[in-house]
Symmetry: C2
Subunit: 208 residues, 2 copies
Amino acid sequence: MKLQVALDTLSLEACEELLSQTQDYVDIAEIGTPFVIEEGMRPVKYLKDKFPSIEILADVKIMDAGEFEADKCFSAGADICTVLGVSNNSTIEGVVRSAKKHHKKVMVDMIEVKDLAQRAQEIDEMGVDYICVHTAFDIQNTGKDPLDDLKILNSVIKNAKPAVAGGVKLETIDAIVQEGAEIIVVGGAICTADDPVSATIAIKNHFQ
Amino acid sequence: MKLQVALDTLSLEACEELLSQTQDYVDIAEIGTPFVIEEGMRPVKYLKDKFPSIEILADVKIMDAGEFEADKCFSAGADICTVLGVSNNSTIEGVVRSAKKHHKKVMVDMIEVKDLAQRAQEIDEMGVDYICVHTAFDIQNTGKDPLDDLKILNSVIKNAKPAVAGGVKLETIDAIVQEGAEIIVVGGAICTADDPVSATIAIKNHFQ
Protein backbone atom coordinates (compact mmCIF):
# COMPACT_ATOMS: atom_id res chain seq x y z
CA MET A 1 0.00 0.00 0.00
CA LYS A 2 1.62 3.22 -1.23
CA LEU A 3 0.94 6.88 -0.45
CA GLN A 4 0.89 9.12 -3.52
CA VAL A 5 0.95 12.83 -2.76
CA ALA A 6 -0.60 14.97 -5.50
CA LEU A 7 1.42 18.15 -5.88
CA ASP A 8 -0.55 20.68 -7.86
CA THR A 9 -1.03 23.79 -5.78
CA LEU A 10 2.45 24.27 -4.30
CA SER A 11 5.46 25.95 -5.87
CA LEU A 12 8.36 23.74 -6.92
CA GLU A 13 10.34 25.06 -3.96
CA ALA A 14 7.51 24.18 -1.54
CA CYS A 15 7.26 20.69 -3.10
CA GLU A 16 10.98 20.16 -2.59
CA GLU A 17 10.73 21.31 1.02
CA LEU A 18 7.74 19.03 1.70
CA LEU A 19 9.38 15.98 0.12
CA SER A 20 12.67 16.59 1.88
CA GLN A 21 10.83 16.37 5.21
CA THR A 22 8.51 13.49 4.30
CA GLN A 23 10.60 11.24 2.07
CA ASP A 24 10.30 8.34 4.52
CA TYR A 25 6.49 8.54 4.22
CA VAL A 26 5.81 9.48 0.57
CA ASP A 27 6.10 6.60 -1.91
CA ILE A 28 4.98 8.45 -5.05
CA ALA A 29 5.16 12.18 -5.76
CA GLU A 30 2.53 13.20 -8.31
CA ILE A 31 3.27 16.15 -10.55
CA GLY A 32 -0.37 17.20 -10.90
CA THR A 33 -2.05 18.27 -14.14
CA PRO A 34 -2.09 22.01 -13.31
CA PHE A 35 1.63 21.80 -12.49
CA VAL A 36 2.30 20.15 -15.89
CA ILE A 37 0.20 22.83 -17.61
CA GLU A 38 2.34 25.53 -16.03
CA GLU A 39 5.77 23.95 -16.14
CA GLY A 40 5.73 20.93 -18.46
CA MET A 41 8.20 18.22 -17.46
CA ARG A 42 10.51 20.57 -15.52
CA PRO A 43 9.18 19.53 -12.07
CA VAL A 44 9.39 15.84 -13.10
CA LYS A 45 13.06 16.18 -14.01
CA TYR A 46 13.88 18.35 -11.01
CA LEU A 47 12.21 16.26 -8.32
CA LYS A 48 13.39 12.93 -9.79
CA ASP A 49 16.92 14.27 -9.66
CA LYS A 50 16.53 15.47 -6.05
CA PHE A 51 14.63 12.41 -4.76
CA PRO A 52 15.68 9.36 -6.81
CA SER A 53 14.15 6.96 -4.27
CA ILE A 54 10.64 8.48 -4.58
CA GLU A 55 8.61 7.36 -7.60
CA ILE A 56 7.49 10.29 -9.76
CA LEU A 57 4.06 10.19 -11.42
CA ALA A 58 3.33 12.59 -14.28
CA ASP A 59 -0.42 13.21 -14.16
CA VAL A 60 -0.72 14.15 -17.81
CA LYS A 61 -4.16 12.50 -18.33
CA ILE A 62 -3.32 11.43 -21.87
CA MET A 63 -6.33 11.44 -24.23
CA ASP A 64 -4.65 10.97 -27.64
CA ALA A 65 -1.26 10.26 -29.22
CA GLY A 66 -0.66 7.77 -26.40
CA GLU A 67 2.78 6.46 -27.28
CA PHE A 68 4.13 9.86 -28.37
CA GLU A 69 3.01 11.70 -25.25
CA ALA A 70 3.97 8.92 -22.80
CA ASP A 71 7.45 8.80 -24.38
CA LYS A 72 7.91 12.44 -23.39
CA CYS A 73 7.00 11.72 -19.75
CA PHE A 74 9.23 8.67 -19.38
CA SER A 75 12.13 10.35 -21.18
CA ALA A 76 11.88 13.19 -18.65
CA GLY A 77 12.24 10.73 -15.78
CA ALA A 78 8.66 9.89 -14.80
CA ASP A 79 8.21 6.41 -13.31
CA ILE A 80 4.46 6.36 -13.93
CA CYS A 81 2.25 8.33 -16.31
CA THR A 82 -1.53 8.60 -16.50
CA VAL A 83 -3.91 8.02 -19.41
CA LEU A 84 -7.67 8.59 -19.30
CA GLY A 85 -10.05 5.64 -19.14
CA VAL A 86 -12.40 7.55 -21.48
CA SER A 87 -9.73 7.59 -24.20
CA ASN A 88 -9.72 5.20 -27.15
CA ASN A 89 -8.27 1.73 -26.58
CA SER A 90 -5.59 2.56 -29.18
CA THR A 91 -4.43 5.43 -27.00
CA ILE A 92 -4.17 3.29 -23.86
CA GLU A 93 -2.35 0.61 -25.88
CA GLY A 94 0.11 3.25 -27.10
CA VAL A 95 0.86 4.35 -23.54
CA VAL A 96 1.41 0.69 -22.53
CA ARG A 97 3.84 0.25 -25.48
CA SER A 98 5.76 3.31 -24.35
CA ALA A 99 5.88 2.10 -20.73
CA LYS A 100 7.17 -1.34 -21.71
CA LYS A 101 9.81 0.25 -23.94
CA HIS A 102 11.02 2.43 -21.05
CA HIS A 103 10.46 -0.20 -18.30
CA LYS A 104 8.06 2.19 -16.59
CA LYS A 105 4.41 2.03 -15.47
CA VAL A 106 0.94 3.14 -16.57
CA MET A 107 -1.98 4.32 -14.43
CA VAL A 108 -5.40 4.63 -16.04
CA ASP A 109 -7.50 7.43 -14.55
CA MET A 110 -11.18 6.41 -14.58
CA ILE A 111 -12.49 9.94 -14.04
CA GLU A 112 -15.92 10.41 -15.70
CA VAL A 113 -16.05 6.83 -17.05
CA LYS A 114 -19.78 6.10 -17.24
CA ASP A 115 -19.86 2.31 -16.80
CA LEU A 116 -17.00 1.75 -14.37
CA ALA A 117 -17.31 -2.03 -13.99
CA GLN A 118 -17.43 -2.71 -17.74
CA ARG A 119 -14.66 -0.28 -18.71
CA ALA A 120 -12.41 -1.44 -15.84
CA GLN A 121 -12.75 -5.03 -17.07
CA GLU A 122 -11.81 -4.01 -20.63
CA ILE A 123 -8.81 -1.97 -19.47
CA ASP A 124 -7.72 -4.71 -17.06
CA GLU A 125 -6.95 -6.85 -20.14
CA MET A 126 -4.65 -4.24 -21.70
CA GLY A 127 -1.51 -4.68 -19.61
CA VAL A 128 -1.77 -1.50 -17.56
CA ASP A 129 -0.22 -1.43 -14.09
CA TYR A 130 -2.81 0.56 -12.12
CA ILE A 131 -6.46 1.47 -12.56
CA CYS A 132 -7.43 4.51 -10.48
CA VAL A 133 -10.98 5.43 -9.49
CA HIS A 134 -11.09 9.19 -9.28
CA THR A 135 -13.78 11.55 -8.06
CA ALA A 136 -13.22 14.76 -10.03
CA PHE A 137 -12.24 17.82 -8.01
CA ASP A 138 -15.07 19.67 -9.73
CA ILE A 139 -17.73 17.32 -8.26
CA GLN A 140 -16.27 16.67 -4.81
CA ASN A 141 -18.86 19.03 -3.31
CA THR A 142 -21.69 16.74 -4.49
CA GLY A 143 -20.96 14.18 -1.75
CA LYS A 144 -19.69 11.54 -4.18
CA ASP A 145 -17.30 9.17 -2.39
CA PRO A 146 -14.48 7.35 -4.23
CA LEU A 147 -14.87 4.41 -1.78
CA ASP A 148 -18.00 3.23 -3.62
CA ASP A 149 -16.09 3.20 -6.91
CA LEU A 150 -13.12 1.44 -5.29
CA LYS A 151 -15.41 -1.40 -4.21
CA ILE A 152 -16.69 -1.80 -7.78
CA LEU A 153 -13.13 -1.70 -9.13
CA ASN A 154 -11.87 -4.29 -6.65
CA SER A 155 -14.75 -6.61 -7.57
CA VAL A 156 -13.83 -6.78 -11.27
CA ILE A 157 -10.05 -6.37 -11.83
CA LYS A 158 -7.75 -9.38 -11.99
CA ASN A 159 -4.47 -8.06 -13.41
CA ALA A 160 -4.02 -4.36 -12.70
CA LYS A 161 -3.66 -3.04 -9.17
CA PRO A 162 -6.27 -0.64 -7.72
CA ALA A 163 -5.69 3.02 -6.92
CA VAL A 164 -8.03 5.64 -5.52
CA ALA A 165 -8.06 9.45 -5.74
CA GLY A 166 -10.32 12.41 -5.17
CA GLY A 167 -10.96 14.07 -1.84
CA VAL A 168 -9.24 11.41 0.27
CA LYS A 169 -8.56 12.77 3.75
CA LEU A 170 -7.70 11.68 7.28
CA GLU A 171 -11.37 11.13 8.14
CA THR A 172 -11.94 8.75 5.19
CA ILE A 173 -8.58 6.95 5.05
CA ASP A 174 -9.43 4.01 7.34
CA ALA A 175 -12.38 2.83 5.22
CA ILE A 176 -10.21 2.95 2.10
CA VAL A 177 -7.35 1.10 3.80
CA GLN A 178 -9.83 -1.54 4.93
CA GLU A 179 -11.28 -1.93 1.41
CA GLY A 180 -7.75 -2.24 0.02
CA ALA A 181 -5.87 -0.25 -2.63
CA GLU A 182 -2.31 -0.49 -3.89
CA ILE A 183 -2.04 3.29 -4.20
CA ILE A 184 -3.95 5.91 -2.22
CA VAL A 185 -3.69 9.42 -3.66
CA VAL A 186 -3.95 12.38 -1.30
CA GLY A 187 -3.79 15.97 -2.54
CA GLY A 188 -5.62 18.80 -0.80
CA ALA A 189 -5.64 17.09 2.61
CA ILE A 190 -1.85 17.39 2.57
CA CYS A 191 -1.03 20.37 0.35
CA THR A 192 -3.61 22.76 1.81
CA ALA A 193 -3.12 21.61 5.43
CA ASP A 194 -1.74 24.12 7.91
CA ASP A 195 1.16 21.73 8.43
CA PRO A 196 1.62 19.53 5.32
CA VAL A 197 4.44 17.52 6.90
CA SER A 198 2.37 16.51 9.94
CA ALA A 199 -0.62 15.80 7.68
CA THR A 200 1.49 13.45 5.54
CA ILE A 201 2.78 11.54 8.54
CA ALA A 202 -0.67 11.35 10.17
CA ILE A 203 -2.22 9.92 7.00
CA LYS A 204 0.61 7.47 6.33
CA ASN A 205 0.32 6.16 9.90
CA HIS A 206 -3.14 4.84 9.01
CA PHE A 207 -1.74 2.66 6.18
CA GLN A 208 -1.25 -1.06 6.55
CA MET B 1 -13.30 30.80 -41.53
CA LYS B 2 -10.00 30.57 -39.66
CA LEU B 3 -6.94 28.36 -40.13
CA GLN B 4 -5.57 26.92 -36.89
CA VAL B 5 -2.15 25.34 -37.19
CA ALA B 6 -1.48 22.66 -34.56
CA LEU B 7 2.13 22.91 -33.45
CA ASP B 8 3.11 19.77 -31.61
CA THR B 9 6.01 18.14 -33.37
CA LEU B 10 8.24 21.13 -34.09
CA SER B 11 10.76 22.81 -31.80
CA LEU B 12 9.90 26.28 -30.50
CA GLU B 13 12.48 27.73 -32.86
CA ALA B 14 10.91 25.94 -35.83
CA CYS B 15 7.46 27.16 -34.78
CA GLU B 16 8.72 30.73 -34.62
CA GLU B 17 10.31 30.40 -38.05
CA LEU B 18 7.12 28.91 -39.55
CA LEU B 19 4.86 31.59 -38.05
CA SER B 20 7.19 34.40 -39.07
CA GLN B 21 6.82 33.27 -42.69
CA THR B 22 3.09 32.46 -42.57
CA GLN B 23 1.60 35.09 -40.26
CA ASP B 24 -0.60 36.45 -43.04
CA TYR B 25 -2.17 32.99 -43.44
CA VAL B 26 -2.32 31.54 -39.92
CA ASP B 27 -5.19 32.84 -37.77
CA ILE B 28 -4.65 30.65 -34.70
CA ALA B 29 -1.42 28.98 -33.54
CA GLU B 30 -2.19 25.92 -31.43
CA ILE B 31 0.32 24.93 -28.76
CA GLY B 32 -0.42 21.20 -29.00
CA THR B 33 -0.86 18.88 -26.04
CA PRO B 34 2.57 17.18 -26.43
CA PHE B 35 4.16 20.63 -26.54
CA VAL B 36 2.38 21.61 -23.28
CA ILE B 37 3.49 18.31 -21.69
CA GLU B 38 7.10 19.11 -22.53
CA GLU B 39 7.20 22.85 -21.95
CA GLY B 40 4.09 23.95 -20.05
CA MET B 41 2.99 27.49 -20.86
CA ARG B 42 6.44 28.66 -22.05
CA PRO B 43 5.60 28.35 -25.78
CA VAL B 44 2.26 30.13 -25.17
CA LYS B 45 4.00 33.10 -23.55
CA TYR B 46 6.84 33.16 -26.06
CA LEU B 47 4.77 32.97 -29.24
CA LYS B 48 2.08 35.41 -27.98
CA ASP B 49 4.86 37.90 -27.30
CA LYS B 50 6.41 37.39 -30.74
CA PHE B 51 3.12 37.30 -32.71
CA PRO B 52 0.54 39.41 -30.88
CA SER B 53 -1.78 39.46 -33.91
CA ILE B 54 -2.05 35.66 -34.09
CA GLU B 55 -4.48 34.06 -31.64
CA ILE B 56 -2.82 31.45 -29.41
CA LEU B 57 -4.74 28.30 -28.45
CA ALA B 58 -3.48 26.22 -25.53
CA ASP B 59 -4.57 22.65 -26.28
CA VAL B 60 -4.58 21.54 -22.67
CA LYS B 61 -7.65 19.24 -23.01
CA ILE B 62 -8.89 20.06 -19.50
CA MET B 63 -10.64 17.14 -17.76
CA ASP B 64 -10.97 18.44 -14.19
CA ALA B 65 -10.39 21.57 -12.09
CA GLY B 66 -11.77 23.58 -15.00
CA GLU B 67 -11.56 27.11 -13.67
CA PHE B 68 -8.19 26.59 -11.94
CA GLU B 69 -6.49 25.09 -15.00
CA ALA B 70 -8.03 27.52 -17.52
CA ASP B 71 -6.90 30.45 -15.34
CA LYS B 72 -3.31 29.26 -15.80
CA CYS B 73 -3.67 29.21 -19.60
CA PHE B 74 -5.29 32.63 -19.90
CA SER B 75 -2.87 34.18 -17.39
CA ALA B 76 -0.02 32.94 -19.59
CA GLY B 77 -1.47 34.72 -22.61
CA ALA B 78 -3.61 32.10 -24.34
CA ASP B 79 -6.58 33.49 -26.27
CA ILE B 80 -8.40 30.15 -26.37
CA CYS B 81 -8.08 27.02 -24.24
CA THR B 82 -9.56 23.57 -24.73
CA VAL B 83 -11.67 21.42 -22.41
CA LEU B 84 -12.80 17.87 -23.15
CA GLY B 85 -16.40 17.17 -24.11
CA VAL B 86 -16.21 13.95 -22.06
CA SER B 87 -15.50 15.95 -18.89
CA ASN B 88 -18.15 16.74 -16.28
CA ASN B 89 -20.47 19.70 -16.97
CA SER B 90 -19.05 21.36 -13.83
CA THR B 91 -15.61 21.29 -15.40
CA ILE B 92 -16.78 22.88 -18.66
CA GLU B 93 -18.70 25.49 -16.67
CA GLY B 94 -15.53 26.27 -14.71
CA VAL B 95 -13.57 26.83 -17.91
CA VAL B 96 -16.33 29.12 -19.19
CA ARG B 97 -16.21 31.11 -15.92
CA SER B 98 -12.46 31.52 -16.31
CA ALA B 99 -12.79 32.60 -19.96
CA LYS B 100 -15.43 35.22 -19.16
CA LYS B 101 -13.27 36.55 -16.31
CA HIS B 102 -10.29 36.93 -18.64
CA HIS B 103 -12.33 37.96 -21.73
CA LYS B 104 -10.97 34.93 -23.57
CA LYS B 105 -12.50 31.94 -25.37
CA VAL B 106 -13.27 28.25 -24.84
CA MET B 107 -13.12 25.41 -27.33
CA VAL B 108 -14.66 22.06 -26.37
CA ASP B 109 -12.84 19.10 -27.91
CA MET B 110 -15.37 16.34 -28.68
CA ILE B 111 -12.74 13.59 -29.05
CA GLU B 112 -14.17 10.18 -28.02
CA VAL B 113 -17.62 11.60 -27.16
CA LYS B 114 -19.94 8.64 -27.75
CA ASP B 115 -23.21 10.38 -28.64
CA LEU B 116 -21.98 13.43 -30.52
CA ALA B 117 -25.37 14.95 -31.39
CA GLN B 118 -26.72 14.73 -27.85
CA ARG B 119 -23.55 15.92 -26.10
CA ALA B 120 -23.04 18.77 -28.59
CA GLN B 121 -26.57 19.99 -27.88
CA GLU B 122 -25.93 19.93 -24.12
CA ILE B 123 -22.61 21.75 -24.43
CA ASP B 124 -24.07 24.25 -26.89
CA GLU B 125 -26.19 25.58 -24.00
CA MET B 126 -23.18 26.21 -21.73
CA GLY B 127 -21.79 29.41 -23.23
CA VAL B 128 -18.73 27.93 -24.92
CA ASP B 129 -17.33 29.66 -28.00
CA TYR B 130 -16.36 26.68 -30.18
CA ILE B 131 -17.24 23.01 -30.33
CA CYS B 132 -14.60 20.98 -32.18
CA VAL B 133 -15.19 17.56 -33.73
CA HIS B 134 -11.89 15.73 -33.52
CA THR B 135 -10.79 12.41 -34.94
CA ALA B 136 -8.09 11.17 -32.55
CA PHE B 137 -4.58 10.85 -33.98
CA ASP B 138 -4.53 7.30 -32.64
CA ILE B 139 -7.49 6.23 -34.84
CA GLN B 140 -6.78 8.21 -38.00
CA ASN B 141 -5.55 5.01 -39.69
CA THR B 142 -9.03 3.48 -39.33
CA GLY B 143 -10.43 5.61 -42.16
CA LYS B 144 -12.65 7.68 -39.87
CA ASP B 145 -13.34 11.08 -41.42
CA PRO B 146 -14.04 14.20 -39.29
CA LEU B 147 -16.32 15.50 -42.09
CA ASP B 148 -19.10 13.09 -41.04
CA ASP B 149 -18.90 14.40 -37.47
CA LEU B 150 -18.82 18.01 -38.69
CA LYS B 151 -22.13 17.46 -40.50
CA ILE B 152 -23.70 16.09 -37.31
CA LEU B 153 -22.31 19.02 -35.30
CA ASN B 154 -23.56 21.62 -37.78
CA SER B 155 -27.03 20.08 -37.71
CA VAL B 156 -27.48 20.54 -33.95
CA ILE B 157 -25.56 23.58 -32.62
CA LYS B 158 -27.23 26.99 -32.39
CA ASN B 159 -24.89 29.09 -30.22
CA ALA B 160 -21.31 27.85 -30.42
CA LYS B 161 -19.32 27.95 -33.63
CA PRO B 162 -18.10 24.72 -35.26
CA ALA B 163 -14.46 23.62 -35.51
CA VAL B 164 -12.94 20.50 -37.02
CA ALA B 165 -9.66 18.66 -36.38
CA GLY B 166 -7.94 15.37 -37.01
CA GLY B 167 -6.14 14.41 -40.18
CA VAL B 168 -7.33 17.41 -42.23
CA LYS B 169 -5.17 17.76 -45.34
CA LEU B 170 -5.09 19.44 -48.76
CA GLU B 171 -7.03 16.56 -50.33
CA THR B 172 -9.91 16.83 -47.85
CA ILE B 173 -10.05 20.59 -47.30
CA ASP B 174 -12.57 21.48 -50.03
CA ALA B 175 -15.29 19.22 -48.64
CA ILE B 176 -14.81 20.71 -45.17
CA VAL B 177 -14.86 24.27 -46.50
CA GLN B 178 -18.06 23.46 -48.38
CA GLU B 179 -19.71 21.97 -45.27
CA GLY B 180 -18.68 25.04 -43.29
CA ALA B 181 -16.62 25.46 -40.11
CA GLU B 182 -15.48 28.57 -38.24
CA ILE B 183 -12.11 27.00 -37.45
CA ILE B 184 -10.28 24.32 -39.43
CA VAL B 185 -7.36 22.75 -37.58
CA VAL B 186 -4.43 21.42 -39.59
CA GLY B 187 -1.46 19.74 -37.95
CA GLY B 188 0.56 17.02 -39.65
CA ALA B 189 -0.30 18.19 -43.19
CA ILE B 190 1.63 21.36 -42.39
CA CYS B 191 4.18 20.45 -39.72
CA THR B 192 5.40 17.23 -41.35
CA ALA B 193 5.30 18.61 -44.92
CA ASP B 194 8.59 18.92 -46.79
CA ASP B 195 7.86 22.64 -47.02
CA PRO B 196 5.55 23.73 -44.16
CA VAL B 197 5.34 27.32 -45.41
CA SER B 198 4.11 26.30 -48.88
CA ALA B 199 1.74 23.76 -47.32
CA THR B 200 0.20 26.47 -45.10
CA ILE B 201 -0.33 28.82 -48.00
CA ALA B 202 -1.72 26.08 -50.26
CA ILE B 203 -4.27 25.03 -47.65
CA LYS B 204 -5.29 28.58 -46.73
CA ASN B 205 -5.90 29.34 -50.41
CA HIS B 206 -8.75 26.82 -50.37
CA PHE B 207 -10.57 28.75 -47.60
CA GLN B 208 -13.55 30.95 -48.26
